[in-house]
Amino acid sequence: MTIQVTFWSYFAELAGCSETVVTVSESTPVDGLLAALYQAHPALAELRRSTLIAVGVEYQDGEYVLKAGDHVSLFPPVQGG
């Protein structure tokens, strides 16, 4: 299945794009998706410890099992205000 991924804030610059599509097998957790993304975009891997992950509009962790149609967002710590 394919998963749409959006990189927000300066993560888009580090990735070299603001969006990408990744093909993963059924029942892949977010951690599996991240492994593929870090291989394709190594600059993001250096920030993995501070990376925030959302599926849709909810925060999720690496154990979340992806479903077809999920839209994953990766971004740095937020800075509103």
Binding site: S9, S73, V78
Partner: protein, 143 residues
């Protein structure tokens, strides 16, 4: 609990917001906070901040905060406006008002929303200096 949320590229009309305030007879405190862009970010002089935002998630996360605020029970209304895009030094990027029965509850609720917002609402800021002021504001086309 009444709520109003706006994430906008337009300047924040603080006077208009204050003029539109409503509160019931049992309410004795209206506390509002205006966050203004400073002329320095760390040790660097800046002319503006570029705010980018994952709008649909930001709206969702703000409303989750408002839901939690409502559960606290003492707030009659909350209104919050967050500006995105380029905000010049001296302009307001955030305006929030809490109406409650008493001063302590209103101040505490206002502070709580801001503190929580800074943890969960996906908004980011990029300093703009005089040297890079002509650069594009952010890499996310929807922000």
């Amino acid at each position: 609990m009444k709520r109003f949320l706006s994430i906008t590229r337009d300047p924040i009309d603080e006077a208009g917001l204050v003029a539109d305030r409503t509160l019931s007879s049992g309410m004795g405190a209206a506390v509002y906070f205006s966050g203004v862009v400073r002329g320095q970010e760390g040790s660097d002089a800046i002319v503006a901040l570029d705010y980018s935002c994952f709008v649909s998630m930001a709206e969702h996360q703000f409303h989750r905060l408002f839901d939690r605020l409502a559960e606290r029970g003492s707030v009659e209304s909350v209104r919050l406006v967050h500006r995105i895009g380029r905000v010049a030094v001296g302009e307001s990027s955030l305006w929030i008002e809490v109406v409650s029965a008493h001063r302590a509850g209103a101040f505490a609720a206002c502070q709580w929303v801001i503190d929580e917002m800074k943890q969960v609402v996906p908004i980011w800021k990029t300093p703009v200096t005089a040297a890079n002021a002509s650069s594009p504001s952010n890499p996310n086309p929807t922000a």
